[in-house]
Structure formats: C-alpha cells, structure tokens
Amino acid sequence: MTAFRSHLEFLRKTDDCCWLERPDSPSPQVIASEALRADGPVLRCTTNDARVDLVAGVYGGVDGLSRGNRFPWSRLGIGLGVDQEPEYVDVLEAITDLGDRLDEHDVTYVERAATATDPSVRELGFPTPPDGTWPRLTLGLLSVGTDDGSYWTPIHGTVLDDNTIRARVPDAITDRFARGDVVSVALGVPAEALTATYLLTVTDRLSTPIEERRVGSTVPVIPTGGGLVPSSSEVVLEAEIADQQPETRSEKREFWERIVDGTTLTLDVTSVFTRDDAVVPFTPLDVPLADDLQLVALTLAAQLYDRANSYWGIAPVEWLLLPASGRLGVCVVSTEMLYAGFEWQLSNFLFSFSNCYDTVVVVDDEASPRDLGQVLADIWVKAHPSRDWLFSESDAPVARLPTYSRDGTGARLYVDATWDPRWDEEYIAPRVSLTESYPPNLRAAIRGSWSEFGFDTDPEEL
C-alpha cells in the first residue's frame, strides 16, 4: 500500500510533477485544466497557510498520442505499487484484484494519520472553478459504516458554507444510510482505495462491504464516525446526512456519473481531521484527460479485459484500452485471432458488456499499448475501407457516451485492423521497423555508437 503523499513522492522522483505556489488568480482548476490540455506533468499547488496543498493529474493526463516514457496508466500504476515503469496489463490486473471477493475478513487497523483540527471545511481551501460560486471538492471517498461493514464510493461536491457540503454520490449507496446518520469523507487516500471505489461503482458492485474485498485487506484502515477510512488519508471529514436534498440538475458531474446514476446529498460536517501539511487531489471536470475520466477509463478497461479473458477458456486478449482522448466513446482491443470470425465475436462481446461505446477497434496481438501511434495508423492502413469496417443494423441499443442524439436504437461499428487468418503467410506484409528491417548485429553496433554519432536521445527506449 502506498500512502497518497508517498505516491506523490514517487511521481516527483520520476520527474513527472511540477510545483507552483498557489496563486490568488487564476483558479487552480484553470491551471490544472491547462496542464492536462498540454499533456503536462502532475501539478502541485502549495500554500503556506492553513489551506491544504492541491494536486491535479495524479490519476489523469497523458493521452498517449505522442512518443514518450509516460503512459495513461503510468501514474496510477506507480500509486498501485505495480512498478516505477508499470506495464499496462499489470496495472489492469492490479485494478481487478482490488475488487476480488475474499472469503474471510483480513483488515489491518492502523492509527489514523489525520488528527482533529480547528479549521472548518471552507478553511481547507478547496479550489473554486471559474464558472462556480462555491469551492469544489473532487476525487473523494465516501465511507458508510453499517452492521455488515463499510461501503466505499466516490464523492464530490461543493462547499456551501463553513460546514455544509452539497455532494454527489452513487444512487446505489443511498440504501445504506438514513437522514441523520453519520458518514465519513476521506481525501488524499491511497491509490488502491480510490481506484477500488471507482471500480466497484462503475461495475455496479457496491453491495458488498470493502472488508470482503481485496482492497479491504490491502489498505490499512481506521474506524471513524462514518465507517472505515484509509488510515493514511490526508483529510477526513465526519458529517451527518442532512434532511433536505436540494435540486442540483445544473451541477457538474464527475465522469462516473456518466456510467451509473448519482444522487445529491447535503452533508453537515461535524468534524475535520487533517494531517500536517495535508495534500489532496483534485480535478477540473468535463475537460480532456481529467483525473475522474482516466480513473473510469482504466477501471472499466480492467473489468472488460478480465471478462474477455475469462470467457473462452483461454485468454486471447492481450490488452484493452478506452482512450481518454476519445472520452470512452471508442474501445481498442488487441487480441490473438483464434479463428476466422473471432473479431466479430469479440467485438460483440465487448458491446454486450459495456454500453459506453458503439465503436470497437480490433488490432493484432503484436500491437503494443505503449505505441498507440501504430494503432492509429493500422486502423486505416490494415483495415480494408469496405470489408473491414463493419456495421450492425440500426436496431442496437444506443451507446451511453457519444453525444449525437438518437432515439433508443442505433448501429454499432467494429473495425478489424488485423490480418485475416485465412490469408496465406505470403500475403502478410512485414512491418517496416528497426527490428524487422535491419539485422541484429547492425542494430547493436548503431546503438553502441549512438552518442558518438552526435545524437542525444536514448536509443534503448525504443
């Protein structure tokens, strides 16, 4: 388990974090949005007062559309403890594992790092977006304690006054509490904890307490007024569920609300606990590559990858990606082509298990998720314009995330950018690449003389 502040330290060591003193203007939300647009590093806004430090991009950013040593899953993978340079599939499997059911409770209790403080919620200094009136907290973890255990979900909201939060939570959790009950909100939690809340929410698995999930045995926790929260949480709020549920149709949504229904709560905060020099994550909403969007992309991809490889008795899928740049309107899957027609079977399987997208792109198993550029070439180069762009009849259920308006039904499309398994070997065109176009001794000699030739880059990265 990696505490949130340790996660940030690892990101700093990988040279993927920039620091700036929090300005009065513009809003950190604007700065974070611009950093995401620029495919920039993690942004940390520091303060010298009672306000918390703010960090954006810990889970988001990185579109993978240019060559680099950072990938859309790198930052989360580091937080999940996969590796300093995590492989994509390892990250997917680590995410999936967090949601596994356990037969026995195996919870580790550790003393709470955040201690009681005087400041009100407002004094914590959450950033106010330029189009908003109130400060906004995002990327929070709601903990609801019950006799069966604690339930974790995502939570975000606005700070209305010193101690009132208008919050959005998944509908599915509202059966677990009643008005007047106490719940807890944790901010700056370990990546495992936040990822698990997104995973369990977007895969509709909130009916089991976290003590019976792998995440409950992975993340040390501590009881609070509301339920268990990660012990290392940077900020913990205890709050009562208020009586009234105000109308908030105009409020912005976190991306998980595009997948499952959410509801609005009013929380009266009764206690605020913070760590020394507390630092919490935040994200601008509805902008490209936002943290909430990337968390949903990775957790949904993990679920689909796991399902596709648990269905046919073997594991044909190499990887599966929902590019955040496409705001989850397209699914890319790399697979072994088991037999002629498997691409049809796999594509329709993926349509069956998610209603986010209506387009699936199938690529060969030698394609790398680290080389999305090659995928974005093969879609057009390997796929025949008429034979390999395949549309269903227009009577399929409409996908959830694309924005065009349709009434109930529409078509689905899959692009088969793989070699046809019926083709003779002689039909398969070799790729032009360093590996396939030049003999190994020549490649080794060139790499050995690379800097002497006057080049600066590291050829081993390829």
Binding site: P129, P130, P323
Partner: protein, 502 residues
C-alpha cells in the same frame, strides 16, 4: 531570407542544432538507413553521412538521412524557418504557406556556368548511376533506391514542365525503374500519350533540389500552372533554372544531382518490393517503366538526400510525412477553397499521412460533405487517400486528440460513416489490405481489382464538449505559471489555434 538551395537548407538545420555530421565511415547498405530510422523514431538530429563506404569513384558523395523531417510535435518547423513563416502554430503556418502560394513567381534561367549543378558534367557512357551511394534502405527491398527525387517531365500546358515525386529503383549504371502510377499527371502522360505513340518521354530526375521545389513536387498543381513558379512563391524569389545537356527540359540550377534520360515506351524493369509510406513492405515485385540515362550532372561532393520510407507512420516522422503535413496540407486547403468549398483547414492524419485526411469545414448545405468527398476522391485524392474525416471548422485537424474525440463522440455509426463507391474505385498497389492477387500487375500501375473509400462525418453540430475552463486571460496566465514551473512552452496549443477558445 528564404533558403534557395538544399545546402542553405542544411545551414538552417545547422543553426537550429538539428543535424549531426557523422564522419565515421558508414555503409549505404542498410547502415545509413538504420541510423536514420532510429533518429526519426527518437526525434533526434538529422544525420549527414560525410564519409560513405564503398563508393565506386572519387565523387565523394554524402548521404543525408531524411533532411526534411520535422520535430514530431511541430513537423513544419524547419520549413517555416526556411520560408520565414510562423512556426508556433500549425494553422498560422498553413495560412502563411497559402499566402505564398497565392503569389507564384516565374523562374529565371541562368547559364550553365552559373549553375552549381553543372560543376561536374558527364554524358553518354561516362554517366553512371553507380557513381553515387544510393542507399539500400530496408531488408527485403528489391534494390537500391532514390527516394527523395523530383522528376521533371514535359508538360504541353506549362513552359517549365511538370514536377513530381516518384521513387526510383537503381538497376545498373544506365538504367532505373520509376514508379509511375496512373492517375497522377506525369504517369498519365507517359502511359496514355508517349507510350501509345511509342515515344520515349524525356525527363530529368533531380536530387537535392531544396525545400521549395520538393514541397511543390508534393502538391497537386492545376493543369496549366507550373510547380516551379509556386516554388518561387514559397521562397519569395524566382527559382533559378538551367537547361539540361541532352533534352529541352530546365532543372533547378542548385540541385545536387541531375539525371537526364528518357522513360522508354513499352519497356519494363522490376520494381519493388519496397517498404513504403504505409509502414509495411508492399509487394509483389512489379514491372515499371524504364529510365534510360543520357547524362548526369552534379555539384562537387554532392549530397544525396534520402527518405527512409515507412518510418513516418505512427509517432515517427520522416521526409515524406513532413512534406505531406508541411506542403501537401496547405496546398490542399488552398485548392479546396479555390474550388469553392468553405474549408478551414485540410491536413493529413499524422499517424499515416497519405491514407487519411482530416478536413475542418462548415457544412454549408445538405450534402456538402458528400460533394466535397466526391470532389477529392475523383481528383487529387484518387490514388492514395482512403478516408476523410470531416470535423467542425473550430476543430484543429492538426490536433490528434481533438480529432479522436470528434470521431468517438460525434460520428454516429448509423448515419455518419459513408462508404464511397464500394469496390468500384481505383487503388494504388502499395496498400497492404489487398492480397497480391487483388493487386495483380496492371499495365498502368494501379491494382487489378478496384476498392472503395469512405468518409466520416465527425462534426458535432454544436454539441462539442468543453476543451478547457476559464476565460482567455485566465488560461494565458495559467500557462505562464506552468511555464515558470517548468512545463515547456511548446507543450501548449497556441491560443490562436482554432478551437482553443472553447
């Protein structure tokens, strides 16, 4: 001052610390190309090979690997510097190029004595292609290739001839095979006029003619106009031409090498396989028209620029992909506007620059996109382009993220994907999705079987999601703060780029 030759272009690169001069002996046999491909993929300096092993004579030619390649984040950068155009934004560079193309300048003839390309003149049996270290580029290629060559050919509608780019496979001292694909102007003239009349077509293959000439060779210039006058417009000064030794054609006086000859009627030599711009080896070996050499003139210690084809797909850039974005895009944008289409910008898809184009356009009337696709597919997009993606006029086609978002969110599989001329359209045999049988060996260079093309309507019709938050001042201040914190300024899409205000 715009550059006027290949050598002054190298000076631009040198000033930008963008080349490395390698003095170690390097072989033309895969080694120079492998080094170039690795430099292309790592976005490193452009290699100039000062000492090429195993040259047959005392020509002392030098190879230059993909000299026109631009940085992956800003492919037009060196062309912008060469032509004194803005480089911090793709759309601004495009508009600068378009302004120059609006003002072509007629070339100026100079004497042979004033032409650097005549420093060495060899004719008849003294002229040998094997004098030069043509690179063997990929394992599996059919032979050694001239890949960055501008072919000057006669044009009855233009005083200065027609200029275009064709890969050429070297066979021996006096013969090469030239990839001529029917559908393009020069090949059409060869197949349907010269060859039918059993006449050889006089040509001049120029190597190292500089960025202005190479750019216009990439463009689709209307019949009756001359590429070289547009090259003058790009430079802002007339291109200097000199007469050939053995035919009536005029060639750039500063070219590194000029190969004069004739494309013979009804004669064919093997051509290919070759790892071309798709990023795959395309085959099978075909028969292509024969270039018979009559004379070769060149500068002393000439540079032989070459392109490692196939390395410009995916993230990588090479000369071909950069020429497509930096020259082909502005030309297409201008051409469509002149044809009456309300096009904001047309640009090739950076991950496979010839197969897919993205066009930002206002849909002026019902059916406008179909009409636009039809126009291009039947003219300059006939051979190489398979797909168009139409996006709103405030989407930057040079931003892959914006285009992917547009396709993912706004292209409805039920109504917005339009297959065009299903299995009825001509196709170059360079693709990899047709089988070798389907490609066949048609006499005019196109595939034996027809194919189809498609366009995608990814316009949002007013429903495009926000690309950022805050007003313009707040965003600009945010960028300044991020730059102060260490984020490179080049990471930001310029404020005046289309769509940045959303």
């Amino acid at each position: 001052m715009s550059v006027d030759s290949f050598r002054t272009f190298l000076d631009v690169l040198e000033r930008g610390d963008a080349i490395t001069r390698i003095t170690d002996d390097v072989s033309w046999d895969l080694e120079a190309s492998a080094i170039t491909m690795l430099a292309n993929e790592t976005d490193d300096r452009i290699p100039v090979f000062e000492s090429v092993r195993n040259q047959r004579s005392d020509t002392n030619a030098r190879l230059v690997g993909d000299p026109y390649r631009g940085p992956q984040q800003c492919p037009w950068k060196w062309f912008g510097h060469a032509f004194d155009l803005p480089v911090d934004s793709g759309p601004a560079y495009y508009e600068g190029m378009i302004d120059r193309l609006h003002e072509p300048l007629e070339p100026r003839m100079v004497s042979a004595a004033a032409a650097p390309c005549k420093e060495v003149v060899r004719t008849g049996d003294d002229a040998s292609l094997l004098e030069f270290p043509w690179p063997y580029i990929h394992q599996g290629d059919g032979g050694r290739y001239a890949t960055l060559a501008t072919l000057v050919a006669p044009d009855p509608n233009s005083e200065w001839g027609s200029w275009s780019r064709h890969r050429t496979m070297i066979h021996d001292s006096s013969q090469a095979s030239v990839l001529l694909l029917a559908g393009e102007q020069v090949p059409n003239r060869y197949y349907f006029e010269y060859e039918r009349d059993d006449e050889p077509m006089p040509v001049a293959l120029t190597i190292g003619a500089g960025p202005a000439v190479e750019s216009t060779a990439e463009m689709w210039i209307p019949v009756g106009r001359s590429e070289v006058s547009f090259a003058g417009g790009l430079r802002g000064s007339p291109v200097e031409l000199v007469e050939c030794e053995t035919n009536d054609l005029a060639v750039p006086a500063t070219a590194e090498i000029v190969i004069e000859g004739r494309v013979m009627p009804n004669e064919r030599l093997d051509e290919g396989p070759f790892g071309d711009y798709f990023g795959y080896m395309n085959g099978p070996r075909r028969s292509m028209p024969v270039l018979e050499v009559d004379a070769i003139t060149h500068r002393r210690e000439p540079y032989v620029p070459f392109c490692v084809e196939g390395s410009g797909v995916g993230y990588g850039e090479n000369s071909s992909s950069t020429l497509a974005i930096a020259a082909g895009g502005p030309d297409a944008t201008l051409g469509l506007r002149i044809a009456g289409f309300d096009v904001e910008l047309a640009a090739p898809w950076p991950f496979t620059s010839r197969t897919v184009w993205v066009i930002a356009v206002d849909r002026a009337y019902p059916g406008a996109l179909h009409e636009l696709a039809n126009f291009i597919f039947t003219t300059w997009g006939m051979l190489h382009i398979d797909f168009f993606v139409f996006v709103d006029s405030d989407v930057n086609p040079l931003s892959p993220r914006a285009v992917i978002e547009a396709i993912a969110l706004h292209a409805d599989p039920a109504t917005d994907f339009h297959q065009f001329g299903v299995e009825r359209m001509p196709k170059v045999p360079l693709n990899i999705y047709q089988t070798p049988d389907e490609k066949g060996s048609a006499t005019v260079g196109t595939s034996r079987t027809k194919t189809s093309k498609a366009y995608i309507d990814a316009c949002a019709d007013g429903d495009r999601p926000a690309q950022g938050i805050g007003d313009r001042d707040a965003r600009e201040r945010a960028r300044e703060l991020l730059v102060e914190a260490g984020v490179p300024e080049t990471a930001f899409e310029p404020a005046h780029t289309t769509g940045a205000e959303r």
